[in-house]
Amino acid sequence: SPEVTLRDAVVLVGGFPLLSGVNLELAPSSITVVTGANGAGKTSLLRLLAGLVTLTSGEGVVAGVDLKGDLRELRRRVGWLGHEGSFYDDLSASENLVFAAKALERPTSDVANVLERVGLASRATTSTKQLSAGQRRRLGLAWLLLRRPALWLLDEPYASLDDEGRTFFDQLIGDVVAGGATVVVSAHDPLRSSALAPRTVTLAGGLVVTDRS
């Protein structure tokens, strides 16, 4: 059964339709790149899949959870990397991860090597406010590495990552998908690694307009 199913999904916020009737099916352990012009609805789509906005009309089932149903359950199954930082600004990088680890009942020993993997070991004790844009992105990835969710939703992951960071990212989602998880990425430029053959969905005006594999 597909990991994501949307039928005529409409999302209305303040009377404005962020999504105006999306139809979409995503297979498990697949990589999908959502692209489209600015304001097309990419972020909105990802937020819908993450259970961060409510479905106004239409139907949807994501990670086995009905979008009309228990969104908290859905949120528990997805991992989200947004434009803005995804952690407590006043805490240090490692404090943030320790918090997440405890909340997820993971051993806090993971934190150190996750930080190592994303290349933030040298900034473990810096408060996240002071991290650079790219480092904040990397911290976001670290947070996801702790979670290892079933469905990864990444909003413009390349933005403000350096070369090395992007390569790391490509191989990361490679592993993740190999591990059976599903990845949905919103991006303006195609993924660099040719190893990943993603499906590309193009949005415009809150609708899916083209869909290439």
Binding site: L12, G15, F16, S20, A204, G205
Partner: protein
Amino acid sequence: MMKLLSQRLLGPVTLVLLALTFWFGLWVTPPDKIQGNLARLLYVHPAIAWVALYLSFGTATIASALYLWKRSRSVVMDRVAHCAVEVSLVFIVLTLITGSLWGRPTWGVWWAWDARLTSTAILGVFAVGYLALRRANDDFEQRARRSAVVAILAAINVPIIHFSVQWWKTLHQGASVFTPGGNFKVHGVMLTTLFISLAAFTLLFFWLLRARYRVEVLREERQQVSLDEALAQRRREGVH
């Protein structure tokens, strides 16, 4: 059939009873020994107050609770709660007005630091807060849930507020109508009038509630139309 009939009759009956109330209140009943014609407010104020505090807030609270309870969650409950609070705000204001009108001559002040007065005013603020909250949230689900919780919190607060200000020294009328044991302090035609007024304002409440509810439904239908319009426009953004 019954339902239809009751819907048909609600308006007329309310009007008749109100008319009765005023006729009795102004002409049939005698002026009070001490208070003179002022006492005639007795046929308006308590009834209004009763609706404001118990009837309307009660309706709102029950509706909200029913909304929060998954089994009975529906748009209807949310609408009812919303409309009930709006109507109740009107009645609370009326209570304050009739009350102060009564208070000026009898107590010599428009307002006093008294249990019931204060709690009524505070309840008014609750209603305002509730409506403010509804304006602030545009996501339906969120709005419905949050306002439902607020309504219930208000309900919980009513007794707390009541007691906290009860134990203030109070100069407001004690229970002079609905006394325990039912031995009424008001008699004969005055009592009848009082009960007519209670019935009248109770019906008035339901009448207003239904009217307001219909307006709400119409408004939502109009929204639906403008929504389709918005959808079409948003979709057009795609094609260049």
